[in-house]
């Protein structure tokens, strides 16, 4: 304890995360471009930073939780950004999910000012943020990880130090590749069952016990059976992650033939105005094409 924490980005994820830090007794200064969540946090006991620079000036540890790479860059290095207020020896924890290669550049630019950055993207979604049960994948130096660990533990459960700067974002990209591909596979399988005249609920049950078993089949399989695609994690955001995955794969020269059609499906879902659906809503594209619905065949 004792560290003064700054929190930049109080969106659907950032707001509950910041609240946990406040509840844990950390002195907290916050900022967001949208006023409402800032007011809410200030009412709960946080200080108003006024800008990212203002947050940084009042904090030993600065957390950023932004939608995409350019947002993090602006918060750190833009006008009124963290670098205008931060002091040497401070720690920046970027918990956003952004591209690994720019992440390493950001860490280098901060290091030039005597500031250490960890990339610490999370998984677990809004539910995980609210329940302080996020998985946190951390890249950066050992000593900074040790220093940040008590802070991470207030927000998450499965906290893994995966490697040097950028490693957290690489791990998140791997995570999102597997999650989206598994959603697509489960969607195709349940719809295949439905159209072949077999109750997809029974197929899910039969598959859960064996090698086809996964968290996706368990959780998103149930969403698909219910036809409930309220988010959860939005297709729009997974499409952003898909772009990061494909860019990273191209940069390092790894073929991802299985993931490419899944990325295309995410884009088609966006084009069909389904970006605000949960990512399990990828099923709806297949259902449209097949002229059948998994939820209508479930429980038959």
């Amino acid at each position: 304890m004792g560290e003064r924490i700054g929190f930049i980005g109080l969106g659907i994820m950032g707001k509950p995360m910041a609240k946990h830090l406040l509840a844990a007794g950390y002195p907290l200064t916050v900022h967001d471009l949208v006023p409402a969540p800032v007011d809410e946090l200030v009412e709960a006991g946080a200080a108003r930073g006024g800008s990212s620079a203002g947050v940084a000036a009042a904090s030993d540890v600065v957390i950023t939780m932004c939608p995409d790479t350019p947002d993090v860059e602006a918060a750190l290095f833009g006008e009124g950004g963290v670098v205008e207020g931060v002091r040497e020896g401070s720690l920046v924890l970027d918990m956003s999910s952004i591209a690994p290669v720019p992440t390493r550049r950001f860490a280098e630019r901060l290091a030039e000012r005597g500031v250490t950055m960890l990339d610490a993207p999370v998984s677990g979604g809004e539910k995980g943020a609210i329940e302080a049960a996020l998985s946190i994948m951390v890249g950066g130096p050992d000593d900074a990880f040790e220093r940040a660990l008590p802070v991470f533990q207030v927000m998450g459960k499965n906290i893994v130090h995966v490697g040097p700067a950028g490693a957290g974002q690489v791990t998140k990209a791997c995570n999102q590749l597997v999650v989206a591909s598994t959603i697509e596979a489960v969607a195709e399988a349940l719809l295949l069952a439905a159209k072949a005249g077999v109750d997809p609920a029974k197929v899910r049950e039969a598959l859960l016990g064996g090698f086809a078993g996964s968290r996706i089949l368990e959780v998103h399989g149930e969403r698909m059976l219910a036809g409930n695609f309220a988010p959860g994690f939005r297709i729009r955001l997974h499409r952003k992650d898909a772009r990061i995955i494909l860019e990273t794969a191209d940069e390092v020269g790894v073929p991802v033939p299985g993931f490419r059609p899944v990325a295309e499906a995410l884009q088609r879902a966006l084009d069909a105005d389904r970006g605000e659906l949960d990512h399990s809503g990828l099923l709806t594209l297949l259902e449209d094409e097949a002229g059948a619905k998994v939820c209508e065949a479930a429980g038959t």
Copy 2:
């Protein structure tokens, strides 16, 4: 108990399954085109059927465990086949993994002779067969399922009656779709980590706790980290299952855009003489293309 059982097809799976039935005290008659496993079972106490017809003539319940659709058709309806020896009121349990549409036809042809067939494909591989821990997905009438259940329980654990004739094979196709797609996704993710300079063992560990968690990441992820592609379940057989999946998807009009490149990868692996590798060996195709190995980056 009391039922006399016949077993046709004593391969890598069938032999241990038949042994469990013998050990459970069932009178057993066996047949295979290859003499060695027949001799082995006879030495252990089984009777020699001499042909599929001979097995059927000596049995109340006839189990078939064959590699592919034409093998099952030959065992049931070919020269010296089950129909030449089977009596009315008998039960046929086809535990092979074959195409759903011909399965329904086989069930109808047997029904014309007063014989009920259940399709009851399994998952769990050689290990599951040896440990009597197979998952069994069963299609067919309720009363036949009830009659067969004690027999299935000798060989398996997760036994689900999924629906009418063919439903077991549809479920197995769904299972194999999800398994192959998940293997491809895990392979792409671990190789992406390795080439992006992150220890793939740490990535597996970080992903296991979250939404990317699956039996495939657990079991086959470990094989990939070790670079150990000894089967297990062979690429050659999964390629056969992929054909069944694609045919069934086309027949019922379900798009499988995510699975298609995975089926192509299985074919490319066969073309590259890797059909006898475990299906997790799909990773080796990606490794060749990327010029890097997951096992060499693991534990770094």
